[in-house]
């Protein structure tokens, strides 16, 4: 009895500790398993995200140019060619050859036999080509790479595909003259401020002598910086007759929609990419008092050609700007 009591005293609390350890071990095992599962799940997601990111980076590194090459044989064929201009190899898996005029699409599936083009390689033929007739309309050739990037080019190559009018305008000025819009107007005999047949006018490349006329021409603002061009009153059209050795000029005027010339000039604004008809009628800078200023008498020019210069002046945005357009001529009859 005494021994039992001693044993019992010695063992007190051991069962509780063992139970607590077992319980803790069970919960710990469950918790650990859960956390390991969560950790592995995040690892899986992270791996998938890294792989996708890697694929997108590789795709963005692909740079290539596409063109076409005609292959003679039993029948003429058009084959895609690829220049790899990027830093990594590309693998072409599909070719589209499209007739943009009809929308007809011809395809070459190379997924089972893809063509790899290494960096720096040029004019590498891709696929076997599709039937093509000489002189056919241009074809759009599109290739698809294994990484999913699409590149395209035209055959035959289009000239100056990347140059815009605005870029060309830098070469000769910010404003373009619409040559075929060059016209003249006669005056209403009953109202010296009214232009007849406005705004249509008459083609001015052959102009009449012996009557007072005004000129009109359309100009387009192609400023690459997209500023508004404002024409001031110094803008004029002048003509020089090389045989007679004399000149006449017409200042810019404002004309309302019904063809009436305004007595005082208000600056004309032309927004970027806007085309506007500009009328030249006045003998004086800044105002218009009638169609017969002394210098506009061209009867001695009959049967002679003259050179036309359009002098534009004003501001481009807030910057002063002027441009002379000397490309037109007139024959006076």
């Amino acid at each position: 009895m005494r021994r039992y009591k001693e044993w019992s005293r010695r063992k007190k609390g051991v069962a509780g500790i063992i139970a607590a350890i077992i319980l803790f071990a069970m919960i710990f095992t469950t918790g650990t398993a859960y956390f390991i599962f969560v950790y592995q799940s995040y690892q899986l997601q992270q791996k998938a995200a890294i792989e996708r990111n890697q694929m997108e980076i590789e795709q963005s590194l692909e740079q290539f140019e596409v063109g076409g090459k005609e292959i003679s044989g039993s029948e003429l064929k058009l084959q895609a060619i690829v220049n790899n201009t990027g830093p990594i190899p590309i693998t072409v898996v599909y070719v589209f050859i499209i007739d943009p005029t009809t929308g007809t699409v011809q395809t070459e599936d190379l997924t089972s036999n893809p063509k790899t083009v290494n960096p720096g390689e040029t004019n590498i033929p891709v696929g076997t080509g599709v039937t093509y007739a000489t002189g056919s309309p241009p074809r759009l050739i599109k290739v698809v790479t294994e990484r999913g990037k699409t590149g395209s080019g035209m055959h035959p190559p289009q000239k100056f595909p990347g140059i815009t009018e605005s870029e060309l305008a830098q070469g000769f000025g910010m404003v373009r003259l619409i040559f075929l819009s060059f016209r003249y107007y006669t005056y209403d005999s009953k109202n010296p401020f009214k232009l007849l047949n406005f705004p249509t006018g008459t083609n001015a490349f052959n102009s009449p002598t012996g009557t007072e006329i005004a000129f009109g021409v359309e100009i387009k603002n192609l400023d690459p910086d997209k500023r508004t061009f404002t024409l001031d009153s110094h803008t004029m059209l002048w003509q020089f007759n090389p045989k007679q050795g004399n000149q006449y000029y017409w200042y810019v005027v404002n004309v309302n929609a019904t063809g009436y010339i305004q007595t005082t000039y208000t600056p004309i604004s032309i927004a970027y990419n806007e085309t506007k008809l500009i009328i030249f009628a006045s003998g004086k800078d800044g105002d218009f008092s009638g169609p017969k200023p002394p210098q506009v008498s061209v009867s001695n020019w009959s049967g002679l050609p003259s050179a036309v210069f359009i002098l534009l002046h004003g501001t481009l945005g807030t910057t002063p700007y002027g441009q002379n357009m000397p490309y037109t001529s007139v024959y006076w009859y």
Binding site: A19, T30, Y34, F37, M55, F96, T150
Partner: protein, 147 residues
């Protein structure tokens, strides 16, 4: 003699009861934690699978042919991802904010393969048509072309 025997039974019963209570409470606690962990694991597992599939699914629209004579649109898809997928929905129209759902049977798109689908749609020359495709795992691709 009788008393001595009775004195020995009580600790055994008490110990048995304590063990029983401990086991019951222990298993109840474990079950509670385990069921919670299982439920959470299930949600995380589904979410992970969904995210991983979404990340591995990639496809592009490589070409579109707008046939305004026969009022048909042919769309070419290429699977550049790391998992087989399906095109489950296609929308089209001229306003990218109001596209029309086109009824279709899902188009299987195995890895590294090109597949095309032709749908009927009224085409007017000069209009720009937008095509939006949705993959099985939720990726969306938009393409537009002028007729």
């Amino acid at each position: 003699m009788v008393n001595r025997i009775r004195k020995g039974v009580s600790p055994v019963i008490a110990t048995t009861i304590i063990i029983a209570i401990t086991l019951v409470v222990g298993f109840a606690s474990w079950s509670f934690v385990n069921s919670g962990a299982s439920a959470a694991s299930g949600v995380i597992g589904q979410s992970t699978a969904s995210n991983v599939n979404y990340l591995r699914e990639r496809f592009v629209i490589t070409n579109v042919a707008l046939d305004y004579t026969n009022n048909r649109i042919t769309v070419w898809f290429y699977n550049n991802g790391a998992i087989n997928t399906k095109i489950v929905e296609i929308y089209t129209g001229t306003d990218p904010n109001m596209l029309n759902l086109i009824p279709l049977t899902p188009l299987s798109l195995p890895i590294k393969e090109m597949r095309s689908i032709t749908i009927s749609y009224s085409i007017s020359s000069g209009n720009t048509y937008y095509i939006k495709a949705i993959g099985e795992f939720g990726n969306v691709v938009l393409y537009y072309q002028k007729a």
